[in-house]
Point group: C2
Chain length 159, copies 2
DNA sequence: CCTTATTCGTCAAGATACTTGACTATATAA
DNA sequence: TTATATAGTCAAGTATCTTGACGAATAAGG
């Protein structure tokens, strides 16, 4: 059997949070699996979310830190790993000798292309499942929730 | 400053996966923060997802493993931690001397109540943001995505 | 009853993704 | 110049997960 969900269990989670979590891990798993199948065996969730913020012409490490919302050390470690894999490289910023610009290597650029392709495919698959309006509605609902949380939770880091 | 998202950046993630991830972490952060504010300082994401599967009258460890979709050792470690916090306790199953029933302690029951209250509050907040139909549509869309992934990714454990 | 396999749980060790604290080098402000 | 803030690194520790190996109880087959 696939799972024994059909049994009349005493309780099974059913709130938005749980569904959000399920859908999120489904997407992540699908993405990482597809990347790995495409030969990018070094891909993981955390690395994907970092890579998603590195622009084509490189991005300052400080900007990555700001965008990702995790500690600078965590970001650094992620970059270290990706640098070790030959996906990213660090360049120095001519205008600020402290700063480092993180950019894709050749390998990184091809991974980026692959990643974009896969994201489009997944988006397409979701569009087929939900219909174009359904997908659009989903995305706008998700955006609304995320931004409301930002407003509401206050006490962000750097506050 | 709160964040500098408004700048016209070269690229900023915008696919479903990213929004899913944002909304998901918003929910998780809100839940955990509310629990901690309510005095349950031991709460974490992973613990919350385990506790969501422990029924009021106790649940066999093997069932938790099956439901959570992670390794039995991971589940065990989570239970160990919660047992150490005095939230859960393990009882032996009279009908199977190998098995262990995981149940809430007194402290666990009060946390459970609090958690349910918070989940309802969050759901309510989301309902206000999206409207009743919007929330319902969101939930059903999420469910569709999660179950389609299950079909597609196959190779579940327990095969 | 007596093997043999299966299932339930534990112990141990290791990987990944984070955290905080301490510190260097550079830049900026007073 | 001196103080302070910012960019990044190094080191150590925590949380969550993994695989492998194992003991103990149950189930299946003779």
């Amino acid at each position: 059997m696939v799972k024994s969900l059909d049994k009349k269990d005493e309780d099974w989670p059913d709130h938005v949070g749980w569904r959000l979590s399920q859908a999120n891990s489904a997407w992540r798993a699908a993405f990482v699996e597809a990347m790995r199948a495409a030969g990018h065996g070094w891909m993981t969730d955390a690395r994907a979310s970092l890579l998603g913020h590195v622009g084509r012409r490189g991005t300052p490490q400080s900007v990555l830190i700001e965008r990702m919302g995790i500690s600078k050390q965590a970001v650094q470690q992620l970059i270290d790993g990706l640098e070790g894999e030959g996906v990213l490289r660090r360049m120095s910023d001519p205008r600020d000798k402290r700063a480092r610009i993180v950019a894709h290597t050749q390998k990184g650029r091809s991974a980026l292309q692959e990643a974009n392709r896969i994201k489009l495919e997944l988006e397409e698959r979701y569009r087929n499942l939900l219909g174009p309006e359904g997908l659009a509605a989903l995305k706008s609902a998700l955006a609304a929730l995320a931004s409301s949380a930002n407003d509401d939770i206050r006490g962000d880091r750097e506050g």
